[in-house]
Symmetry: C2
Subunit: 186 residues, 2 copies
Amino acid sequence: MTATETPVDNGVNVEALLGAREALTAAPEAASFRWRAMCEWQNGTHSHSEVEGFFGLGEEQRHRTRFTFDADHPQIFASEDNGATPVEYVLVGLASCLTAGIAAVAQNRQIQLRRVTATLEGDMDVQGILGIDSDVRNGFSDIKVTYDIDADATPDEIKAIVAQSQKRSAVYDIVTNPTNVRVEVV
Amino acid sequence: MTATETPVDNGVNVEALLGAREALTAAPEAASFRWRAMCEWQNGTHSHSEVEGFFGLGEEQRHRTRFTFDADHPQIFASEDNGATPVEYVLVGLASCLTAGIAAVAQNRQIQLRRVTATLEGDMDVQGILGIDSDVRNGFSDIKVTYDIDADATPDEIKAIVAQSQKRSAVYDIVTNPTNVRVEVV
């Protein structure tokens, strides 16, 4: 510690987030968001998805650009491996949600992050999706997330940041708790 | 219907999948898969994830190429919008999983698909993630998936294909049922 401290900057605008929290507390109807994805089948197990528009703060919003994603199954499943598998997309969503939360919480706690990496492992018995054993679930039996974090903080402070990120993470909630999904055909 | 029929081809090698099912029924230990993602924090809420290796059929496997993904929060959350949001990645995973299943089931049922598109909408009250109201969950309150399918089949046959895809979908299971997630810091 020195008398002249460098301001903590993790690139998260905490003031704006706290301002948004205040504004949405006063106008909770603006907190209703609707996120969207469009998916078009290509061939075999290969599909192409796009993400661009969403609804929030009472009006239609748009990302700066359209984000596109190819998904497929790997060659060992007799597919062409034209993209990550659908379950790997879920791991990417979980990793990025927890990591964004870590940056935001660290900023709020005035802790400078230097490096944050996560390794995610999702175990799956494919006897489920192949219909071999109906007692085996289709999804992951278990997911392990391992963080390696270099920050100006004690190990306990770092663990507390990760715990707080879990507590506020949308995707952690989606994966660990059930969500109602309606599937319709028009 | 004519006397000379074109073979149904949705690009899915059903014979190989049925062969895999037979092989894994005989050797269920080979059905243990481990999917992975690596994530590295960039700045603010922006992270970069990679998917390449996975474990399955008793050994290390590799995608044909490394797939990379940027995730971020949008500008209305005072972020730089350098990628899709983490929750949109979950929608992409769900869309691509159900769509791959539709192609596989249709092939198995000898139904030719012509066009399959899905629109996904995930509703979320961001009072949860912002910590405004602890009774509001962080994740989606509800997800709606709408399929528009052009195929050589009756509406009932198409609905039955979609229902069977849901029944065998890994990501549908992950989203609709709880999964244990362990988060560790090394």
